[in-house]
Symmetry: C2
Subunit: 417 residues, 2 copies
């Protein structure tokens, strides 16, 4: 029996097959995201992977249904697996924002689902690091959020040589559009055309732009304008004060595909331009109002970093550590009459926080020792009367330590965390 | 807009409403589970929350469909949200077991879904700590797994006064049934009757038992038999050697509801008997064979601990810590001309691993200080020329430290982890 196409199995390393994913690498990335978010004072939240379908159609219109895992549940409710986290966040904020001081700084690491036509490398689920700031209109919040994005990627070893965050302004595009075209209902279609500029054939783009009343030259001139908007300049200056200038650049080509952005938007890309976007985000000052039916009106902004492109980049830059089993002690049981006392030793070591392995059944001494090496154990331990013979498998040094002193001996000896 | 009934929103503490759940408490529990699994040498895996429906019906028969979130996807595939992890694990093991040394010791922390009729306190999703040992028939594996279960609960502060693991044997029940009733097709219905013994009305149970050819007295005598089976005795002795005797007892009343158990089964309960089962598990030596269509035949056993009953118990025993924001430094910006240099300080501190907060916009000094207290910051820091005035908010001591020494000063001063 096979898993569904577009879904992933995560195995412990070393990986058994190129077609499966590393549970260790995923956990490593998620832990770095979490630690970075906490350094920035962000708190964790989570919501249901299954939501009322209406939560997503309210935000994105009925067109989105074609890309969802949606169905009618046994209570006759139209439901969908979440394709993104922001609507759930907006719903949760609208329900209980009064209990939290503003600005609210929250993060989550949800798994997200989209029914996309199968293409090479396109999956139907991914994990995403979502961080949002709610209740602050100042560009200081945009800068704080972008700094978190930069540091989340830096925490994985990526440098300014590896990625850049391209900053742009949906506001500026909105204004540019409105000066030439008064049909505001078509603005979003226009933005989508701009969003596809780098991927679409030039003749298709030109034709589309003409239908909105724009020439490609006008668009190029707008993108290449010399001056950033005042709000972008503030963000760039703020990031410069943090020493993060080299990680960002203003680039009006970025506009973001989603309908709900209202202000600054940004995307992170690999510097070589070989991969799809690593991350994207922006301001969505109207969404909470929309989701809450006008009950709650709070400025907001956020970003998402997906795990898939990021893993590609980390692999390409050789920034993923090797994830060995790496236990602390392998207890050798060479005499079965010592098994019960060895179990007591194992329990004592595990209680003290060490990771401990041993052979569940009787096995030849050399086979046990080989297994200790395979598991990259730091030490082997073997009972001898009231003492334990500890062998450091790196230095090959041996020491006989009284049973009662084993824990303190290992705490002094063990590799620094 | 509301979340779906039976699903949970997880908020940062302090919780805004009794109807929502703590993201912090969940993360705390999951981290303890992970750390304990690693001490036992278990490696993490994960699989898709959405699987082919057939994966679950193969194992549990068509009856299970009534309890699933199942639907037809846009590719005309019958699919279901996973109600348990074991079929996914069996599928993954069957696919790639040859690449892993036996016994395989793996764990996962999946979210699981069941469409149950809404009842008070019954939810439609929960998180579960799953741990399994694959490829070992010896009862030494059963003991190792049960020890992990005990220590996973102990790692949260629960003691032998709080919970007990009741051990039983599906084998013994199977044999007892077969001696009196030769209709093996009905054995599973009989087991289900036994499983409901504690919850069902006595007259209903008696009637059902009669239909299988058993009297209630025979059942009572079997449950109260003096001698554990040989395999249970081995497990009890093994756990005694680890010093874990007080956490387990043999209790033949336990039989487990699932069809696929083949040997030892067990459930963990609170000692006061006020809550539903905290955890359950057992041997399922035939399941991988079944799921793999006879391709792979490996003995296996596992358990699951759900987060919901466990949280109830931890709350009742007051074993959940308080989850405050708890940052390291709140940087006070009392003079806006120092904002840029303060941002550089903030970046320096975060780069060094400290969690740092500050006011995104200009605010009165006393408001900033109040916020630092609310966030339970360990220190405030304020730039003064080339120095930083650090105030320990617990002792109220102040120190002027050169900017270049702030990180090392705080590393020495900061609260032990």
């Amino acid at each position: 029996m096979e898993r569904l196409p577009g879904f992933r199995d995560f195995y412990p390393e070393p990986l058994p097959h190129p077609d499966v994913w590393s549970a260790d690498a995923r956990q490593y990335i998620v832990e770095r995201w979490r630690a970075t978010a906490r350094r920035y004072g962000f708190r964790e939240y989570d919501g249901p992977p299954l939501e009322p379908l209406e939560l997503f159609t309210t935000k994105s219109g009925e067109e989105i249904v074609g890309q969802l895992y949606n169905f009618i549940d046994k209570g006759e409710r139209p439901v969908a697996l979440r394709p993104e986290m922001t609507p759930t966040l907006a719903r949760m904020i609208a329900a209980h924002e009064r209990n939290y001081k503003k600005p609210i700084k929250w993060f989550a690491v949800p798994q997200l689902f989209r029914y996309e036509r199968q293409q090479k490398g396109r999956l139907r689920e991914h994990f995403q690091f979502n961080a949002d700031i709610i209740g602050e209109t100042s560009t200081a919040a945009d800068a704080e959020l972008i700094a978190l994005l930069v540091d989340s990627l830096r925490s994985l070893g990526l440098s300014e040589a590896d990625f850049v965050v391209r900053l742009s302004s949906r506001n500026a595009w909105q204004q540019f559009y409105a000066e030439r075209n008064h049909d505001s209902a078509k603005a979003y279609d226009f933005f989508q055309t701009i969003d596809k500029l780098e991927r679409e054939k030039p003749e298709v783009t030109q034709e589309k732009l003409r239908s909105f009343g724009f020439s490609i030259d006008e668009i190029t001139a707008f993108i290449q304008r010399a001056e950033p908007t005042a709000e972008l300049q503030q963000i760039v200056d703020n990031l410069a004060a943090r020493g993060l200038s080299s990680f960002v650049k203003v680039d009006y080509q970025v506009i973001r595909g989603l309908a709900y952005y209202t202000g600054v938007v940004f995307e992170a890309f690999d510097r070589k331009g070989e991969l799809r976007a690593i991350a994207g985000g922006g301001r969505y000052d109207n969404l909470i109002n929309l989701i809450s039916g006008g009950r709650v009106d709070l400025a907001a902004l956020g970003f998402g970093i997906g795990d898939i492109v990021l893993l590609e980049l980390l692999k390409a830059r050789k920034l993923l550590p090797s994830f060995e089993a790496g236990i602390d002690v392998f207890v050798l049981i060479e005499d079965e009459s010592l098994r019960n006392r060895s179990l007591a030793l194992i329990q004592q070591l595990r209680d003290a926080g060490f990771s401990v392995e041993y052979s569940l059944t009787a096995a030849k001494p050399d086979k046990q020792f080989k297994r200790a090496l395979e598991l990259k154990s730091a030490f082997t331990g073997r009972l001898e009367a009231d003492q334990v013979r500890l062998k450091n498998l790196r230095t090959r040094e041996e020491r006989l330590v009284p049973s009662s002193d084993v824990v303190s001996f290992l705490k002094n000896e063990s590799r620094p965390a």
